[in-house]
């Protein structure tokens, strides 16, 4: 939109971005000071927690970051699809849980050699997520239930269902989790240093690349984009908007299901209440923050994974009140919004106002 950009304006933009970062850092520092801790320590501990310290990199901690990044980027990738189609897939959390539940079923009750076993678990997870997402889609297209409300309801249902399974049919003596899965049914870490499942990592990378390419290069991707920007116009251009919306949800469900499967097959090794752990919601936040710009998603999701995983170290080393970590996270969000939005807004405001006015001027009311 801003083709008229000059060098000076670009410099200004950069300046605003930098100022936003500095401002947020200062704000964080201030909050930490109020909590009677040292900001420098806090930042240092987070960075250490991510795996970087004076003594060099700590592979184990880096693994921790990656292990959280995998499900996060998987859901973000799925959400890229639904956001492109203009859908608020709040139900992503439940889709993760359903994926986890389906994978857990196979892990417990199907007995195959390791490779087909895990493959079947992952496929089941994809199926579970997709079905749950389609349910939200059908509620929307057939029942007229907005995907936000449908999604919230389905999230609750999925969670209730998983708790029922854990405390009932799949209960483990005494615990509130299913029995641990046997190791052939698990995604295994590469080794004891780099404790990351290469299969999961590969899934994440491939999923992102494929979705990226599909959104960019296929007719379906273009259709989703059109539907997302204006469902009405897309319909009038001949796009099968309903079918596309359902498909977008299903694809997101598949990816959310995969994310759920990494939680049960890798992180925990059994089914627990709330296996999704809010990762789906975090994914929504991440994708919103990037403004649905696909290339930013891996980066921003990694940033969040890093800060969250790094905060484990922070919490233990400094024994801060845990809400402080929430504050640090909140400020991270603020920083991105500031760096992103303010800059854009600063330049877009008058443009948008003008465009809006002229567009409106040319259109007329409908019957």
């Amino acid at each position: 939109m801003h083709r008229e950009e000059t060098g000076a304006q670009q410099l200004l933009k950069l300046g605003i971005g930098l100022a936003a970062v500095v401002f947020s850092l200062l704000l964080t520092a201030l909050v930490i000071l109020l909590a009677e801790a040292s900001p420098i320590d806090v930042f240092e501990k987070i960075v250490e927690g991510i795996g970087f310290s004076g003594q060099g990199a700590d592979i184990l901690r880096i693994s921790g970051v990656i292990n959280f990044w995998i499900p996060l980027l998987l859901v973000c990738t799925g959400l890229l699809v639904t956001f492109t189609a203009g859908l608020w897939n709040i139900g992503v959390e439940g889709q993760m849980m359903m994926g986890a539940i389906f994978a857990s079923y196979v892990a417990q009750f199907v007995f195959l050699p390791p490779v087909p076993q895990v493959a079947l678990e992952i496929a089941a997870a994809a199926l579970g997520g997709a079905l749950w997402a389609l349910l939200a889609g059908v509620l929307k297209t057939r029942g007229g239930v907005h995907e936000i409300f449908g999604g919230v309801a389905l999230n609750n249902l999925a969670s209730i269902f998983s708790i029922y399974l854990i405390s009932g049919p799949w209960s483990n003596e005494g615990g509130q989790a299913s029995p641990p899965f046997r190791s052939e049914a698990l995604l295994l870490p590469y080794n004891n240093e780099f404790k990351v499942s290469l299969v999961a990592l590969a899934l994440m990378v491939v999923a992102f690349i494929v979705i990226f390419a599909v959104l960019r290069g296929t007719r379906w991707g273009l259709e989703l984009k059109a539907v997302g920007k204006s469902q009405r116009s897309a319909l009038l251009l001949g796009v099968p908007t309903e079918r596309d919306a359902l498909q977008a949800l299903a694809v997101c469900g598949i990816l959310a299901g995969l994310a759920g499967s990494t939680r049960v097959l890798f992180t925990y090794g059994n089914l627990r209440p709330l296996v999704s752990g809010g990762i789906g919601f975090l994914g929504l936040l991440v994708v919103l923050l990037t403004g649905t710009r696909a290339l930013w998603v891996p980066l921003i999701s990694l940033l969040f994974a890093a800060v969250l995983a790094g905060s484990t170290r922070l919490k233990i080393a400094l024994q801060l009140d845990q809400s402080l970590v929430g504050v640090v996270q909140g400020i991270l969000v603020l920083m991105i919004i500031l760096a992103n939005g303010v800059r854009g807004r600063f330049f877009a405001a008058r443009q948008a106002a003008a465009d809006g006015a002229s567009a409106a001027g040319k259109e007329s009311a409908h019957e």
């Binding site: 007719r219 443009q351 040319k362 409908h366 019957e367």
Partner: protein, 494 residues
């Protein structure tokens, strides 16, 4: 208050939207700003009203250089533009909107505001209920509110960009008389952008014509339409000619259609359209025309009745089934219905291209777009975002997206907002398809257009439909009577 622009330049990427424009506007006068679509009229107006920043040049207010680059700054300098939509603040009342648009403390003085409001309202001869929620206002009433608001802000230069699209003839009369009063009695400067030459002739004291970003001339009244056209396009234009051609088989048949909207009810409407026939739907906006057009393309499901296209029963079917039956539709709101703001021209053509496979052939798309852009004389690049195009060019894109030989073409306001030349050109395209056997149903509020191009005319008045007995011999005046519901010539349903 006088305003002057000197050597204004404005670029949008490769487009030189305003090229060295110098103009002076004196107080007490109404200026018509004319020019073909994409000439740069809106750009110049937005510069004056602070929405765009100039690349180079000067703006002088009362002979002193003014430096503002926000709409607010412009208003402080005394220049205000009629924005048509920013009032859409949900359920606020007229008065609330008026007050929130004013500077002032957190706690407004409601009584004073109400007095001020009705004072200006009276002066202009408007009638607005200050307690009414803005969402119930018509476009014309919103304009009135906006003018009152701007005047209360102390604006001395009032800019109106195509204000007469979509308002009724009566509202137009009210608007024009108030504008004349503002200029000639109160000494305001008024800038009026329009494509309707009659309006300009009726209202303005002076005109300025832009073309491809440049100022090509100014003229004092009186001038003739032909003079204006010649200035705008370098030549005089004849309307696209409509030959009498033999009609073919029945392309679409509507029987006993029953439909209901919030405002009107259609009862038992019947209509047969043959291949090559052009049906014009006339009437005030909202009299039921859109119910018919939308039923004919499957966007609204009728309560009763049948729709058969080329012998195929399509009653109650989905829009996409109509498309498959080779029906095409151009809706009234271009950017809300038909074009996707945010997508490029190429992307539009790819979406509408049946040859494109699952994996997009971008080259093919770009070629096709370039091809259509050339063929339809669209001012824009394949990679331009659609909303960057001027209104006329958007309309051309819409036309370019339609399949070459549809069975039925349903068009709502096909030339709204278009300059005379573009409108003529669009009709050439439509008539070319007609010659190939396409049946055409179109809605328009422009009576000239209806009279010129229709083989048959249906007049809608509050849901009642009357066919004009001899469409080819009818006149604009006669039609005007019918539209107002004054006399029904023949009661027969058609």
């Amino acid at each position: 208050m006088s305003v002057e622009v000197r050597n204004i330049h404005k670029h949008f990427g490769p487009v030189h939207a305003n090229n060295d424009i110098s103009l002076r506007f004196e107080d007490g006068r109404i200026y018509g700003i004319l020019g073909e679509n994409g000439a740069g009229k809106s750009t110049l107006m937005k510069i004056l009203s602070g929405f765009y920043r100039i690349d180079s040049g000067q703006i002088l207010v009362n002979d002193r250089v003014a430096h503002y680059d926000t709409p607010r700054g412009a208003i402080q300098a005394g220049i205000g533009m009629l924005a048509q939509d920013p009032l859409d603040v949900g359920a606020f009342t007229v008065l609330e909107n008026f007050v929130y648009g004013q500077p002032g403390g957190i706690l407004p003085d409601w009584e004073a505001a109400r007095r001020r409001f009705s004072e200006i309202e009276k002066h202009l001869g408007f009638e607005l209920n200050p307690e009414l929620s803005v969402e119930y206002l018509s476009i014309g009433q919103r304009q009135e509110l906006e003018i009152i608001r701007l005047l209360a802000l102390g604006v001395h230069v009032l800019i109106l960009d195509e204000p007469t699209t979509g308002i009724s003839a009566e509202q137009k009369q009210v608007l024009f008389s108030s504008l004349k009063r503002l200029a000639h009695q109160d000494g305001l400067t008024i800038l009026f952008v329009s494509h309707k030459l009659e309006d300009v002739l009726d209202l303005c004291d002076e005109v300025a014509v832009l073309r491809l970003g440049c100022l090509v001339g100014t003229a004092q009244m009186p001038v003739t339409t032909n003079d204006l056209v010649a200035m705008m396009f370098g030549q005089e234009l004849a309307p696209a000619s409509r030959d009498d051609i033999p009609f073919g088989d029945i392309a679409v048949e509507v029987t006993d259609l029953h439909m209901i909207s919030e405002r009107v009810t259609l009862r038992g409407l019947g209509l047969k359209v043959r291949a090559g026939e052009v049906i014009g739907l006339a009437g005030l906006e909202g009299s039921g025309q859109q119910l018919l057009t939308r039923a004919c393309v499957g966007l609204i499901k009728p309560l009763g009745g049948r729709i058969v296209v080329a012998g195929k029963e399509l009653t109650g079917r989905h829009y996409r089934d109509f498309l498959a039956a080779n029906v095409c539709f151009g809706a009234a709101g271009r950017l809300e219905e038909g074009l996707v703001a945010g997508l490029t021209l190429t992307e539009h053509f790819i979406l509408a291209d049946p040859e494109q496979t699952a994996w997009i052939d971008r080259d093919r798309g770009t070629r096709l777009a370039a091809d259509r852009i050339a063929h339809y004389h669209i001012h824009g690049q394949p990679e331009s975002s659609i909303e960057m195009l001027s209104g006329g060019n958007q309309q051309r894109v819409l036309m370019a997206l339609m399949p070459p030989a549809p069975v039925l073409m349903v068009l709502e306001h096909p030339t709204r907002g278009l300059d005379v030349e573009s409108a003529r050109w669009i009709w050439e395209q439509i008539l070319a398809r007609r010659r190939d056997g396409t049946a055409i149903i179109f809605v328009s509020t422009d009576l000239d257009e209806i009279v010129t191009y229709s083989d048959r005319i249906l007049v809608f008045y509050a849901g009642q439909v009357t066919e004009v007995p001899d469409a080819r011999r009818t006149t604009v005046d006669e039609l005007g009577h019918l539209i107002g519901g004054h006399s029904v010539l023949s009661g027969e349903a058609v």
